[in-house]
């Protein structure tokens, strides 16, 4: 054992390595991404690691490995689980040989996601056991136990954590390499009665799953990470049930106060029913402190009904805890104070001056800004819809660009554009998709468009990386997480192969050329595509920096008002460029009506 200062996701990765994981697959998504990256970075050479094309592919790869006796893990964010749900629902009926952990990071808030869905609810739906850690140290230990339970009960298991555990850091105890478990896979043993899903097999296995989960409820009642912290003698008959980071908030708020009984739930499914009955014994009221869905609250309410207990269960369903959003030290503190009838001092400051608003924006020099601006200029005055997608380029919705009319989920924009056109034939329909999103779930949308004779313009924003989640490689980048240099998969060739005849590749930083290209092809019939190709500025060195000639600048603010670049500011009535941010993309130079800006490097 030794101490390391680790991010929760790094701890999960090291825990998996120490549990002898043989294969890890996944798709990037905040707050899950660092798990797989850490595995790849720390790979002793014995682990196969890949960024899969999407979560469905990742889970299927991991399933194949687990069928062969490997310990496998697949990582994703909560909305990625929706993509992986098709194989997952069936996989539970088939089961696994080697341990298979489905690591899902939930995002209460949400801070960087479309939904506040709760993987604990998904566990009940899909019937997979779920592990839910409260701290970085616990995450490290629990992931190892998750592999053991998975293997022992031949089922994939969820390991679910949330942003504050995934992205929290702590100094924790970790194993030395010599203490690592080594798993040697037996290999795939043919048995079609076991590995081929048919209705008859599903019926038989369904019964077995229900039986096993009833057993696991008992087993989990004894599991050391589900426990009761007893109150002091003579305390009022009140209890608190908590999980995940909310348990940590509760512990810090209660401090050394022992006047309430506490139940920590680390396996919300199958719910540790016997332990819960013991917890509820003699209590008048219980407050459930949960993020996302009221999973514990519902389970306790059900148990009270089943056992005829009089305990009142309070939480989200009764309005005692906020039904949406992330919990905090303050919100948990306030809920506990109200529950225990204690006063709580407000920490709000009333005379605060108005503060600058800082929404996330496209970086200075981001080629997406140029792409959006070119399409906007080319289509000025026309009836249009701009369907966006998931990635940095969702930020194109902000003023002054205002170029994202819809955003739903990975790859959706391409199909939404088609649907709008079928109902509104006089609208010019555009779909914007990034390169990584194109590979993850954009291709089927294009096939759908071509086959069904849609009329739309596809704009692929190709910055040659998965930028939003921190620059992961993908099929178009030509390198893998195993460090291999491989043939790049060409988006242009894919589009041609699907049947598009018009596919133009343009550098968006050359504004005139980009605008002309959009004008030329937008009115052609059928499905046509423009690939705006220019690398993410975070991956390239600035080729020069633009500066404003104060003599020439007329202070019209066109550059600032049209582009919204964070490097452009007004200074004494003239435009000025923050040299620490400028990348010399030269877009502002091309927009300036009097040629007052120069120094950048267009087309390089």
């Amino acid at each position: 054992m030794h101490k390391e200062f680790l991010m929760g996701n790094e701890a999960i990765a090291l825990g998996a390595l120490s549990a002898g994981v043989n294969l890890v697959a996944g798709y990037p998504g905040t707050p899950s991404t660092e798990v797989l990256e850490t595995i790849a970075r720390q790979n002793p050479g014995t682990v196969y690691v890949e960024w899969s094309v999407n979560e469905k592919a990742g889970l299927e790869v991991a399933a194949g490995a687990a069928y062969s006796g490997a310990r496998a893990m697949v990582t994703m964010k909560q909305v990625g689980l929706n993509v992986a749900s098709d194989p997952l629902m069936s996989l539970e009926y088939i089961g696994v040989k080697g341990g298979l952990v489905v690591m899902v990071a939930d995002d209460p808030g949400p801070i960087s996601s479309q939904t506040e869905q709760d993987t604990r609810t998904f566990a009940g739906f899909s019937k997979l056991p779920l592990f839910d850690p409260s701290s970085v140290q616990e995450a490290y230990e629990m992931i190892q136990e998750a592999f053991e339970y998975s293997e022992q009960y031949h089922t994939p298991v969820f390991f679910r954590s949330t942003t504050r555990v995934c992205h929290g850091y702590a100094s924790i105890d970790v194993k030395d390499q010599e203490e690592y478990y080594i798993n040697t896979p037996e290999g795939f043993i043919k048995d079609s009665s076991k590995w081929v899903i048919f209705p008859r097999l599903s019926r038989i296995n369904h019964a077995k799953i229900e039986e096993r989960n009833a057993l696991l409820s008992d087993v989990f009642s004894e599991y050391k990470r589900n426990f009761i912290r007893r109150e002091t003698e003579g305390a009022p008959h009140r209890g608190i049930a908590a999980h995940g980071i909310s348990y940590a908030y509760a512990m810090d708020n209660l401090n050394k106060d022992n006047h309430v009984r506490l139940l920590k739930v680390s396996t919300p499914f199958p719910f540790p029913e016997k332990l819960a009955v013991e917890f509820l014994d003699g209590l008048d009221e219980v407050l459930c402190l949960e993020e996302l869905d009221p999973v514990i609250e519902r389970a306790l309410t059900y148990i009270c009904g089943k056992y005829g207990l009089k305990t009142r269960i309070l939480g989200k369903l009764t309005g005692h805890v906020a039904s949406a959003g992330e919990n905090s030290m303050e919100s948990v503190g306030a809920a506990i104070a109200a529950f225990l009838g204690m006063e709580q001092e407000s920490q709000e400051i009333l005379d605060m001056p108005p503060l600058p608003v800082r929404p996330p924006v496209l970086c200075a020099g981001c080629p997406h800004r140029a792409s959006f601006y070119a399409v906007k200029q080319a289509m000025l005055g026309r009836k249009t819809i701009f369907c966006g997608d998931i990635g940095c380029y969702t930020l194109g919705n902000a003023m002054p660009l205002d170029m994202v009319d819809t955003c739903l989920c990975m790859g959706a924009g391409i199909n939404i554009a088609q649907g709008v056109k079928h109902i509104e034939p006089d609208t010019a329909c555009f779909a914007f998709v990034g390169d990584s999103t194109f590979f993850a779930s954009g291709i089927t949308g294009v096939v759908n468009a071509v086959y069904n004779q849609a009329d739309m313009t596809l704009i692929v924003l190709d910055n040659s990386t998965t930028a939003m989640t921190g620059h992961q490689p993908h099929p178009g980048t030509g390198h893998t997480m195993m460090g291999e240099i491989v043939e790049k998969i060409s988006i242009e060739k894919i589009l041609h192969a699907i049947g598009l005849t018009v596919v133009e590749t343009v550098n968006p930083l050359n504004l005139d050329e980009a605008v002309a290209c959009v004008r030329n092809i937008a009115d052609q019939p059928g499905v046509k595509a423009i690939i705006f190709k220019s690398p993410c500025i975070a991956l390239t060195k600035p080729s020069g920096k633009s500066t404003v000639d104060n003599e020439k600048c007329i202070g019209c603010q066109k550059c600032i008002r049209q582009l919204g670049c964070p490097a452009l500011i007004m200074n004494d009535g003239k435009a000025a460029i923050d040299q620490s941010q400028c990348t010399g993309c030269s877009l502002c130079e091309q927009v300036c009506p009097v040629g007052a800006i120069s120094g950048g490097n267009k087309n390089e």
């Binding site: 801070i111 100094s171 600058p356 800082r358 003023m399 500011i569």
Partner: protein, 199 residues
Amino acid sequence: MVQFLEVTRMNKNIILCGVGGQGTVLASKLMAAAAMEKNIPVMTAETIGMAQRGGSVFSHLRMGEGIHSPLIAKGTADLIIGFEPGETVRMLPFLKKGGSVVVSSRPIMPVSASIGDAVYQAEEMIAYLKQKVMNLTVVDSEKAMKELGSSKVLNVVLLGAAVRSGELGLTLEDIQAAIQNRVPEKFQELNIRALTYTE
């Protein structure tokens, strides 16, 4: 009982705040490394992901025994290290009564202010902080960056000021050791000059 008091005395809640890209994360890593060297348990939490792109960012850092949550509750921070005046005011509800603030004087204009949706005067922010915070250190960061010849070490200059405020619970030597262990050799001399920089 005595031991309990000892432990409580050692506990520190520190907030670092600024705008994405200013180096708050490295500063919190250096402090955490310094704490670990002294066998003090440490936890941090910070903004990662979409909000980093030019948005407000923070790091919470907690040192000491018996801590469960990496996040600091409002009204309990011993020290705020502010990389930007407006962001420092934003975090003020976290400061405990009598807590200290170290703040960089240089504002970073939000895009919203640039396109005319909002007005933002950094001087107002500093004046407000002076009015609210007893133990306030304002670092003239323009001057510091000019004298040090680099705009990349604002974080370490602020760390040095934080050590001198006496609220960090760590010494210059502790931070210096962390720099020597974690910063690439060619930048060490600059970082150590930044750490010991005073106006």
